[in-house]
């Protein structure tokens, strides 16, 4: 550990000297992160995959020959063909259009709820840790209490009553409402050391308002953790969306999501496997690419990472 610190210091001194002598520009933090991210092949593959999926979700419905909600009654449970690229379901719906639409839904739910979860968890986690004393004790008790009943059961209860066009917003709300608790506990643990930082103490004794300290000092310090968590949270949110919709508790017809298509494919697993395979491939590509991006970001942001190569 001491060795690497030494090298870092000497390297910094060297660069500083170089700066003065040759006028070289220093590498900014963001550039550094981008460079380190780009050096990891798996992360780049993940990013490319995700971009392709997003393009597919936006462009797919426009180039598909059928809408996701207009069944072709002359082609029920057809294998993939020139007219129906991914085949049709037993109800005659075009699987290509369904998957494009469902992918968009799953992505929207995943990203929206993951961002919302991070925001809530960051505010609650840091606030609980910052105020210490009875706020912390009561807050932790409440967080632990909220974790007693598995959140999956609670989400299922409240999204059951939601259907129709805005059903997906309800699902997002449900996943958010019970998804932030575990993260908030983790962030509180991380804040325990941040609240002892000298400038946090200084700000406190200078009479800076508590929420200003939280906003200005604590949350930015957790920045990298929060970014990584948001990215990886998308995987978790997509997985719970899929699980709920698959069980028939999430998104319901006429709207569709990848889980809903999986459910439709489950009953025709032998006679029309394409109904199952297309959304499965989309789901696996989606979650896997996001995970690769998250892992890549973690390595790129982490100052102690040994991802290889020079900065």
């Amino acid at each position: 550990m001491a060795d690497s610190e030494l090298t870092v210091t000497t390297a910094a001194v060297l660069t500083a000297e170089e700066d003065q002598s040759t006028g070289l520009r220093r590498t900014g933090r963001l550039t550094l992160i981008v460079k380190r991210f780009a050096r990891r092949p798996s992360a780049v593959v993940g990013l490319v995959l995700l971009v392709l999926l997003v393009v597919f979700a936006f462009v797919g419905p426009r180039i598909a020959q059928w809408g996701y909600d207009e069944p072709d009654f002359l082609a029920l449970a057809q294998a993939p063909s020139a007219e129906h690229w991914f085949g049709t379901t037993t109800g005659g719906s075009d699987v290509f259009a369904l998957v494009a639409r469902g992918l968009g839904r799953s992505l929207a739910i995943g990203i929206l709820s993951s961002v919302a979860i991070t925001v809530i968890a960051a505010i609650v986690g840091t606030t609980i840790a910052f105020f210490e004393g009875w706020v912390e004790r009561v807050g932790m008790w409440v967080l632990d209490m909220l974790l007693v009943v598995p959140s999956f059961l609670l989400i299922a209860m409240i999204v059951r009553s939601s259907s129709g066009a805005n059903g997906w917003l309800w699902l997002t709300l449900g996943i958010t409402a019970f998804g932030w608790i575990g993260y908030a506990r983790v962030l509180r643990t991380l804040t325990l050391s941040l609240r002892e930082l000298d400038y946090v103490h200084a700000a406190r004794y200078m009479g800076v308002r508590s929420f200003t300290i939280i906003r200005r000092h604590l949350i930015p310090n957790l920045g990298s953790v929060l970014i990584i968590q948001t990215v990886l949270g998308v995987v978790a949110a997509v997985n719970s969306e899929t699980a709920l919709s698959f069980l028939g508790l999430g998104i319901k017809a006429p709207d569709t999501s990848l889980g809903t298509i999986l459910q439709a494919g489950q009953s025709v697993i032998l006679t029309a496997p394409w109904v199952l395979i297309a959304p499965s491939v989309a789901l696996v590509l989606l979650t896997f690419s996001v995970q690769l991006i998250g892992d890549g970001l973690r390595d790129a942001i982490d100052p102690n990472s040994r991802s290889g190569g020079r900065a």
Partner: protein, 327 residues
């Protein structure tokens, strides 16, 4: 130790009470048993709808707090968890499903722990070698793949194997179908049913134990006392086994204790796909039937499991970790 456990238990009971009460109120607010009757054709007369809803204490015309009070006193005084909209007692329905869930998850949990921890140790010792990279890649893949996709592809694979063999090696639905008296044939039949869901549950569980155990062991391998052991002249393997492995198993043991909760309720998808009448599948039924009492009863059972797990985790830490003293 005794007073510590007692204090913890009291705290957990208070938590459980608040959590289950909140779940009941939440379920009452969001689930609408009346719609079960309104959607029937021909629609039953309003009076009889109201009569059956009131009999099950789920009539939305009664004030919520009154229903809550009835529900609570029934449980506390008579251990009666209420009726489903079909007037079936939910407690006995839950009790019968616990058995099926236990049969399903016991073997998978044990296998997941053994395999996961084993691979975790193996890859930690070979960090950044090709074994670690390959196994880590597989683990990431199985970590993110949705359970439904994994289980459905296991089913497809099993059906193709069955067709290729010409007879039924794997059963894809239920847990039992043998109706004779021979215990050996019963066991064989049980195994044929159990193997597919066990594969699914084992993969899901083992992957997370693998990744966490690898991280924990890598953390302890860098610790000072392991370096001291190496400096003393201990071979690497012995240093890891005697000094690093033991401490790194503590957080895993805590995870195992916590996972007892998930053991009973974590198999919702697997139970649905393999048509096993366990708690998870029953939970989906209660939600679809707007069964407020049934859903709350399952949530309460899951909560009890979670807190037993937490208590067990406290004990395990105190027992395994010499750095922690409870007095």
């Amino acid at each position: 130790m005794g007073t510590f456990l007692l204090r913890r238990t009291a705290n957990y009971v208070a938590m459980l009470f608040v959590a289950v009460s909140a779940t009941y109120l939440l379920a009452s607010a969001f689930m609408d048993p009346r719609s079960n009757y309104l959607s029937r054709n021909p629609r039953p007369p309003m009076d009889s709808i109201n009569a059956s809803l009131t009999a099950a204490n789920i009539n939305d015309e009664d004030p919520l707090l009154l229903r809550y009070w009835r529900w609570l006193t029934d449980i506390v005084l008579h251990w009666n968890w209420g009726l489903s909209p079909d007037q079936e007692p939910v407690a006995s329905a839950v009790a019968t499903r616990i058995g099926a869930s236990t049969q399903l998850v016991t073997l998978a949990t044990v296998l997941a722990i053994v395999i996961g921890v084993g691979i975790g140790v193996y890859t930690a010792i070979r960090q950044y070698k090709w074994q670690d990279r390959v196994l880590g890649g597989f683990a990431t893949f199985f970590l993110v793949i949705p359970t439904a996709v994994l289980a459905l592809f296991v089913v497809i694979g099993a059906i193709y194997i069955n067709e290729a063999l010409g007879f039924r090696l794997f059963y894809v639905t239920g847990l039992h179908s043998y109706e004779g008296d021979s215990p050996w044939l019963w066991l064989l039949d049980f195994a044929q049913h159990l193997i597919l869901p066990t594969i699914v549950l084992t993969i899901i569980g083992a992957v997370s134990y693998h990744l966490t155990q690898r991280t924990y062991l890598l953390d302890t391998m860098k610790a000072d006392y392991v370096r001291t052991a190496r400096a003393k002249g201990l071979p690497l393997n012995l240093a890891i086994r005697k000094h690093a492995l033991r401490t790194s198993l503590i957080p895993t043991a805590v995870n195992v204790a916590f996972s007892i909760a998930a053991v009973f309720t974590g198999a919702v998808i697997t139970e649905t796909i393999f048509a096993i009448n366990g708690l998870g599948r029953y939970f989906v039924t209660t939600i679809i039937n707007n069964d407020i009492n049934g859903a709350t009863c399952i949530a309460a059972f899951a909560g009890v499991c979670a807190l037993v797990g937490a208590l067990l985790a406290d004990v395990v830490v105190a027992w395994l970790d010499p750095r922690i003293r409870i007095s």
